[in-house]
């Protein structure tokens, strides 16, 4: 393909322009031909240039006539519906590119917000630099996540009556746990004992106990839950107001 990027402007150098014309004209006609063959459709191309007195055509003068008469038979409104010139064509492409850009930016912002949310959960980011719009978006994102959690909780509570359901949730959480904390040393021994239980309540108690243990033995581990910066109530008491560890983490901006 091309080695250098061509600037999209009229080529002032006569010989360069003529050379480009020859190549691109050939390429264009080839593309029309391919389109016609691959898709089994009628097409034609007409080109007037300062280099040739007669227009360059595809497929042939006869072929062009045929397609043109087919074209002319269509009601004029249909003809113009998808008719473009350079300006309208470029405007359309600009509109499309703008849309794509907008969507990409929106997606990126949501991804960034997600990271911000996660960081706030472990007290690793403050909300100082956020403006009202940021806070609004962050709040929205939190709500979206809460909704999803509620849906999942609902689903699990429905399937927990079915023994099949609870064991699969154990399996799922097992994998989540093991992938989440690769460096936790107590993991190996606790993991085996949890597997024997299928009762949800017992399993959750075990895990809480395990996490507390993890926290106590290794408060500055690479797992990321450093001393005061914990957002999660990794204790027996899930009452957020009473847990001192909890409160510390939720006011990172007061440090």
């Amino acid at each position: 393909m091309t080695r250098k990027k061509v600037k999209l402007a009229y080529i002032t150098n006569d010989s360069a322009r003529k050379a480009t014309f020859k190549k691109r004209k050939k390429g264009l006609m080839k593309k029309v031909s391919e389109l016609s063959t691959l898709c089994g459709i009628d097409a034609c191309a007409i080109m007037y240039s300062p280099y040739e007195s007669q227009p360059e055509v595809w497929p042939s003068a006869m072929g062009v006539q045929r397609v043109l008469s087919k074209f002319r038979k269509i009601p004029e409104m249909e003809q113009s519906k998808k008719m473009v010139n350079q300006e309208s064509f470029l405007s359309q492409r600009i509109a499309k590119a703008s849309e794509q850009l907008k969507k990409q930016c929106k997606d990126n912002r949501e991804k960034e917000m997600t990271q911000l949310m996660f960081q706030n959960l472990i007290g690793k980011a403050g909300m100082h630099g956020l403006n009202m719009m940021d806070l609004n978006d962050l709040g929205w994102l939190i709500d979206q996540n809460l909704k999803e959690i509620d849906k999942r909780v609902d689903f699990l509570s429905k399937t927990s009556h079915n023994p099949q359901g609870s064991s699969s949730s154990v399996a799922a959480t097992q994998s989540a746990m093991t992938t989440a904390m690769p460096e936790a040393t107590p993991r190996a021994s606790v993991g085996e004992s949890v597997q024997t239980e299928t009762n949800n309540n017992f399993e959750s108690m075990q895990r809480q106990h395990w996490i507390m243990e993890l926290m106590n033995t290794n408060p500055q581990s690479h797992v990321g839950f450093g001393g005061d910066e914990m957002m999660f109530p990794f204790g027996d008491n899930i009452n957020v107001n009473n847990n001192a560890l909890w409160s510390n983490a939720f006011f990172p901006w007061e440090k």
Partner: protein, 221 residues
């Protein structure tokens, strides 16, 4: 085949009618757009007049023409050697159009570049997300979490949400106080409340697009 661009999958394709209808439609769409793009470039680069007419597999007609499809079709059919009857006006119109096209091309190029940048940003963010998912349990997909984890995460998020609200209240209070003191905006620039330059106080005026939370704890503009 080496693929440099992740978007364009380059495969050798046989030059005959595509068998699968769906593929055929997709190919038509893409190639038609590409064809028109090439034609547009040729017009700009070499100053030629072109008309291309194609019929879609569904029977709809698409056409591209520079300066217009009509004039080229007429010119071809009437076979008149010279069409530039109104030479003087034609040149003025032409130069205007060329300037316009130059601008449009520049605008499009700029958008394409920005899109490229944002796509790369997106990919980088995806990588961060992936790494996070593997590392922390609460970053894993919600569908993978067990009841206890869900409960913990839920509580954490609720608490965080409350704090977001508190921060929002703080901000609003700050804005309102700066409203009362129009000449004492945060960074000392004399503005009247809204529209001040401080990073932290940047309330869009006429906040009609605010998302309303389920619990109206805050943000009651």
């Amino acid at each position: 085949m080496v693929k440099n661009n992740p978007v364009q999958g380059r495969r050798k394709i046989e030059m005959k009618k595509i068998a699968k209808k769906n593929n055929l439609q997709v190919t038509f769409s893409k190639r038609r757009a590409g064809l028109f793009k090439k034609a547009s470039e040729l017009c700009t680069l070499c100053g030629v007049d072109v008309a291309i007419i194609v019929f879609s597999p569904a029977g709809k007609v698409f056409s591209f023409g520079h300066p217009h499809v009509e004039s080229i079709v007429d010119r071809f059919l009437t076979r008149s050697p010279s069409v530039r009857i109104f030479d003087a006006c034609y040149n003025i119109v032409e130069t205007h159009r060329d300037a316009n096209i130059r601008e449009l091309n520049a605008h499009l190029a700029q958008l394409d570049e920005m899109l490229e940048v944002e796509k790369r940003n997106g990919e980088a963010l995806d990588e961060v997300r992936e790494a996070g998912r593997r590392q922390w349990w609460w970053q894993a997909p919600i569908g993978e979490l067990g009841s206890n984890e869900l409960q913990q995460l839920r509580n954490a998020l609720l608490e965080l949400k409350m704090n977001v609200g508190k921060q929002a209240e703080l901000l609003q209070a700050a804005v309102e106080s700066s409203n009362c003191w129009p000449f004492l905006a945060p960074n000392g620039v004399g503005t009247s409340g809204f529209g001040c330059e401080g990073n932290e106080i940047n309330v869009p005026s006429g906040t009609t697009q605010m998302y309303k939370f389920d619990q109206d704890l805050y943000l009651d503009f």
